[in-house]
């Protein structure tokens, strides 16, 4: 019962779009986020030819900012700081680490053990495996089990990739079997592989692997990653990633659960317009004189509260996702102010920004990141943070944030479906394309995410149980197929309406937005269209709360 229409979208469906010069819900003239679609990137990823897999780095945005500051700086102290901040791996430390990696290799196991291990409960019956190895075939990361014992498997993967590359002058992208997809991504010195039995498409899996790669870049910078392997092809990267595996673990869980990744958009914490304005003002008034500050970002529970930026520069949603992941995965930020190097791969993969990371106060779980190009700015930023926190407290912003985080029943955005009053709608998610922001009817609550964390290392098994009550995550799982059809490069669909015995799903993409709605099973088309109309009107009405509608700069 599926009907897909490409061009013959019913006339009245076009109505909201062309109604007037009115913008679609959530759209504004200036966006804080760079709305490049991740699917467009995927297309370019796939069209890359063999020799382009060596990653070339573009000019560095960070040095651009540094030199801009220098041009206007009278302060001679700043000039001294011009030296680029990327990690200079000294030759001495490199040789030391190399000798260590040999040790690990000597501990390597027999192939016999290897075969047994592949059948161990740690590895079988998982819905999705992710392996990362170096192009030399050295294991770097495995989502399940112990990558040390997977040297044999990594050898096979490496052989597959290199045989196709050298003998056929081609790139290995997918292997499909009856119930399983294996997706390969070769990025610079790394090979990333996902082996999945989920309903995610190849495109979606490649995107997830790209995220995992970017997570590694965000820890090391692309410059350092390339340099390490140029110097020593056999390098054991786990030395540098020690303690960071859990970042990749958590990222993989997030990508499966959070529609933000599926849509390439950022979720904002719904806040009264005034409260958000006050928070933004607290930041801009405090920070406008700090010249090296590039971004001030406030987030809470994987949602964006506000983002203030240096003129000319925007952030890509995927960089923000990596920041979300970093904050959510690192308990250590809660104990004290931190000062840490952070690389944002889309912003500038070649260098580090320096980040002052701290929670606003003990009674408010909002986290403030101040990102700068100046490595000596800690004291300045630490003072700025305290001023911002004080200003926010006085303006009652902490209460507003806590209300939103605790999903206070009085807020219309807490249970939007109840508030909208269309009982046939079970779930929806909406993405405003121009601002790359998203809103869904049942945002994943914090504790539920925590739960996935805890059981993750053991979990991930394929389970065949009847789901009685669907959660946000299950709905999102259902949308995957639709999302994939809408973004299909060859024959993209504009509108999909599908009824089944379980539900009716409508997905609709226009120039301005993407919308996915799940209705009751027996929903008629006309009825659904009317409901969607009402839904869009509601989103429009609430847009000031659920989206960030301006793009403040320092």
């Amino acid at each position: 019962m599926a009907s897909t229409s490409n061009d013959n979208v019913p006339q009245h469906m076009n109505a909201p779009e062309n109604a007037s010069d009115e913008l679609e819900p959530g759209a504004c003239h200036d966006s804080i986020l760079n709305p490049t679609d991740s699917f467009e990137e995927f297309a370019s990823e796939m069209s890359s030819s063999l020799r382009e897999t060596c990653l070339t780095t573009k000019s560095s945005t960070i040095s651009e900012i540094q030199s801009e500051i220098l041009e206007t700086a009278e302060d001679p102290k700043l000039k001294a700081a011009k030296s680029s901040d990327d990690l200079q791996t000294k030759d001495g430390s490199m040789s030391a680490s190399a000798s260590n990696s040999n040790l690990i290799e000597e501990n390597g196991d027999d192939t016999d053990d290897d075969k047994d291990y592949l059948q161990s409960p740690e590895l079988v019956n998982k819905e999705k495996h992710v392996f990362i190895l170096s192009t030399a075939g050295k294991p770097i990361y495995s989502r399940y089990g112990n990558e040390d014992k997977l040297a044999g498997l990594c050898g096979v993967i490496q052989a597959l990739v290199s045989v196709i590359e050298e003998q056929n002058q081609d790139i290995l992208r997918f292997i499909n079997t009856k119930d399983c997809k294996a997706v390969f991504l070769v990025k610079g010195p790394l090979i990333l592989v996902a082996v999945s039995k989920s309903n995610e498409s190849e495109t979606q899996l490649v995107l997830q692997l790209t995220y995992a790669f970017n997570q590694i870049v965000s820890l090391l910078t692309l410059t350092q990653l390339n340099r390490i392997f140029e110097q020593r092809r056999n390098y054991d990267l786990r030395r540098l990633l020690a303690g960071a595996e859990r970042l990749i673990d958590h990222l993989l869980v997030f990508m499966e659960k959070d529609p933000a990744f599926l849509l390439g958009a950022v979720r904002c914490l719904p806040l009264p317009e005034k409260a958000r304005e006050n928070i933004t003002n607290a930041i801009t008034t405090t920070c406008h004189k700090i010249r090296d500050l590039v971004f001030a970002i406030m987030i809470a529970g994987n949602q964006l509260i506000t983002l203030v930026r240096m003129k000319k520069y925007t952030l890509h949603p995927s960089d923000i996702h990596l920041l979300f992941n970093l904050i959510r995965s690192s308990e250590s930020f809660k104990t004290a102010e931190s000062w840490t190097p952070i690389c944002l791969p889309k912003f500038d993969a070649t260098g580090f920004l320096h980040g002052h990371v701290s929670y606003i106060s003990e009674d408010c779980q909002a986290c403030l990141l101040l990102l700068t190009v100046q490595r000596d700015a800690f004291t300045t930023l630490s003072q700025a943070k305290h001023t911002i926190a004080e200003k926010m407290r006085r303006a009652n912003c902490l209460v507003a944030i806590n209300n939103a985080l605790n999903r206070n029943e009085e807020l219309s955005t807490t249970k939007p479906l109840k508030h909208i009053g269309i009982p046939e709608i079970r779930h929806f998610m909406y993405k405003c394309k121009s601002t790359a922001q998203l809103f869904s009817s049942d945002p994943i609550s914090l504790d539920r995410l925590q739960d996935y964390r805890l059981r993750h290392k053991e979990g991930g098994d394929i389970v065949d149980k009847k789901i009685t009550k669907l959660s946000d995550i299950d709905y999102v799982r259902n949308y995957r197929k639709f999302c994939n059809q809408i973004h299909c490069v060859a024959t993209p669909a504009k509108l999909i309406f599908r009824s089944s015995s379980q539900d009716t799903i409508l997905s609709w993409v226009t120039n301005g937005f993407e919308l996915y709605v799940t209705f009751d099973p027996l929903m008629e088309k006309d009825h659904a269209i009317k409901a969607v109309d009402r839904l869009l009107r509601w989103i429009k009405k609430e847009e000031e709360r659920i989206f960030i509608m301006n793009a403040p700069t320092f």
């Binding site: 020690a242 250590s332 840490t340």
Partner: protein, 225 residues
């Protein structure tokens, strides 16, 4: 009352208990599940010794390899360093020597060094002999202490000794980055004594009162050699 402000950096390999040590001292608690530090965490604390107050800015650094080359950013201008190793790991003790060399060649000014052997509660698993550590500490002119963040043993002493040495260092006029001044602490008004209702203005001014160097202290000239 003499007040000195000093920066202290905590260095050592991954998992030796740097954060546990600092959190035990400053937060008076211990957690079995400390997540790895990212970059470096910043703490402050005050120690009173011999009629003087030492304000310590503690930089608790990450021990993970990938932050190794970021270290200069954290130990620059430091007046003291805690070099922490795990008495059950010879490797972590060897790493200390690397840190000392790096500090000696990169920090031009005199520093108070303390070598700290943590996890003294795991005596049965000891891999670094007490004598060897003491001897090594002596060769670099550092104090040696063994601590247990788990049982809260010896940590107080490490910080106290460091504070005393910093005080001596500041009176020797050798170090320009060590800030020292007299403060008349008695005169600092405290907000809690008044019965008036707190107003917005009172709140704003509070943080300023605590910065005695600006509000009350008579900053001495920075000492220079």
């Amino acid at each position: 009352m003499k007040v000195i402000e000093a920066k202290i950096v905590v260095l050592g390999s991954q998992g030796v208990g740097k954060t546990s040590l600092v959190v035990r001292y400053i937060g008076k608690m211990f957690s079995k599940h400390v997540s790895p530090t990212i970059g470096a965490s910043f703490f402050t604390c005050n120690i009173s010794v011999e009629n003087a107050r030492v304000k310590l800015q503690v930089w608790d650094t990450a021990g993970q390899e990938r932050f190794r080359s970021m270290a200069p950013m954290y130990y620059r201008n430091a007046n003291a360093a805690l070099l922490v190793f795990d008495i059950t790991s010879m490797q972590s003790f060897t790493a200390i020597k690397g840190w000392v060399k790096e500090l000696q060649s990169n920090v031009p000014e005199a520093m108070v060094l303390s070598v700290v052997g943590n996890k003294s509660d795991l005596e049965s698993l000891r891999a670094v002999p007490y004598n060897e550590a003491t001897q090594y500490a002596a060769t670099i002119g550092a104090a040696y202490c063994e601590t247990s963040a788990l049982h809260d043993q010896g940590i107080e002493k490490v910080f106290k000794n460091t504070a005393i040495s910093l005080l001596q260092l500041s009176s020797s006029n050798l170090v320009s980055s060590l800030r020292s001044y007299d403060s008349t602490e008695e005169k600092i008004p405290t907000a809690s004594t008044t019965n008036d209702r707190a107003t917005h203005t009172a709140k704003v001014e509070l943080p300023a009162w605590s910065i005695d160097s600006i509000a009350h202290g008579e900053p001495q000239k920075n000492m220079c050699c």
